[in-house]
């Protein structure tokens, strides 16, 4: 399976590897808080994941200097930033632009349409991906907004700026 393939040429240089590790360290505390909060607010997510609560997902925003490792086990949640060259062997991989992944998480974009257009790539255990998609789709409201709101006005401003920046590209 191609889960740990390093798709970002920047990461293959020593400088890229250093940047990637620094970025991971910087975002990790935020990710931990966000995932705990989302799990607490949306416990029904886990039922739809069924046996794939213990699957390791690698979520790969192609233009960021790191990937995300998710294991949605309610008893031992894992959501961490990982340098691509040190990513764990994942059961399923979901790859695309960062904003697209964010929009898919919030069901602002349709996953099948993104797959048809080839903007979204999946590999590994397709059932795990389908379950994660359906679980997230049953969440009302925006997980991204919720996560941003945890960090007050600066969080919301960063999300808004991010969306603007992407919509202009």
């Amino acid at each position: 399976m191609s889960s740990t393939v390093d798709t970002n040429p920047r990461n293959r240089t020593i400088g890229g590897a250093v940047v990637s590790r620094l970025a991971c360290a910087a975002v990790q505390p935020i990710l931990s808080r966000v995932v705990r909060r989302v799990a607490a607010r949306h416990p029904s997510l886990f039922a739809r994941l069924g046996p794939h609560q213990s699957t390791d997902f690698l979520i790969d925003p192609i233009e960021l200097p790191f990937a995300l490792h998710l294991r949605p086990d309610p008893k031992a949640l894992v959501f961490r930033a990982v340098p691509r060259d040190a990513a764990p062997k994942a059961g399923a991989v979901i790859r695309g632009r960062f904003l697209l992944l964010l929009e898919l998480m919030d069901s602002e974009e349709d996953g099948d349409a993104a797959f048809f257009s080839r903007d979204l790539e999946v590999a590994g255990d397709t059932e795990a991906v389908v379950r994660l998609r359906n679980a997230l789709d049953d969440v009302d409201g925006s997980i991204a907004e919720e996560a941003a709101a945890m960090f007050g006005p600066p969080g919301k401003a960063i999300l808004a700026r991010l969306r603007r920046a992407y919509s202009e590209t």
Binding site: R48, S107, G111, T126, E127, V130, N134, D137
Partner: protein, 332 residues
Amino acid sequence: MSLAELICPAGTPAALRTAVDAGADAVYCGFQDATNARNFPGLNFTPEELAEAVAYAHAKGAKVLLALNTYPPAGKVDLWRQAADTGARLGVDAFIVADMGVADYIARTHPGIRLHLSVQAAASSPEAIRYYCENFGVKRVVLPRILTIPEIRQIRKEIPCEIETFIFGNHGLMVEGRCSLTNYLTGQSTNMDGVCSPASDVEYARHADGSMSSQLAGFTIDCFGAEEKAGYPTICKGRYTAPHRPKGYYAFEEPISLNLSQLLPELIDAGVHAFKIEGRQRSKSYVRGVVTAFRKAVDDIRAGRPANMADLVALTEGQKQTQGAFETKKWR
């Protein structure tokens, strides 16, 4: 003029609320088991969720139709009967059925609840449709997607029940879900297990040249070039090589979606009572976009205004759309 009800899909409670809020007249959904033809992982409703969904829909004036549209294997009817009993207890407005045994059970046990004949029953002649009406009290038939509008108009005159047709979505109609090729490859049946191309049997692989192949149960069924749009990993949409077609070709159907938005006025005029949007496996985003667009179009037509459909091609499979057999029988 017919009622022109809009029948919308929901794979999750959130999708059902989205459909109702976007203007669905009725929403169809299923339980998390083999009793419906979208028995996909992580999709569908528990009885508790359905109870809440029915309350939500009814409070907003929308109906809930429960899909019990698969065929019980011989002698194993209990699951379907229990699902019907649960649906009746929760107050669903109609059952969508394909199997005569299931239809008979509901007609006898829950005679006050409407029966709709699923597209899975593939009833396409007045004789077949009348048989279901006379024997099980079917109130509406969902027509297979193999008929032209003049044919629908003629059928309408010869049957005692309402007509529902698909207007948008997946176009997989090798005799409407009776495909046994998927069963052959995966050991699971669309008709009895409710799942075509089970996700656990699907695998995608990206190749160094940017192309992507899709496999079902270890068999490669398509390979999309780096710039090519993709489709669902179903056998009927597979591209196969043969000695006389070494480059590969769509032996059965192309990855393409049905979109009848332009034919809506004609369909209403032909006496179609209800329009069905396919896609219980799709996201809330799809439901919101498609239901909103068709709600507006139907309302415009009812009010005598020209319907201005939003461009829905981005939501179509392979990003291609067709009017299929509704426009011409030349469509294969």
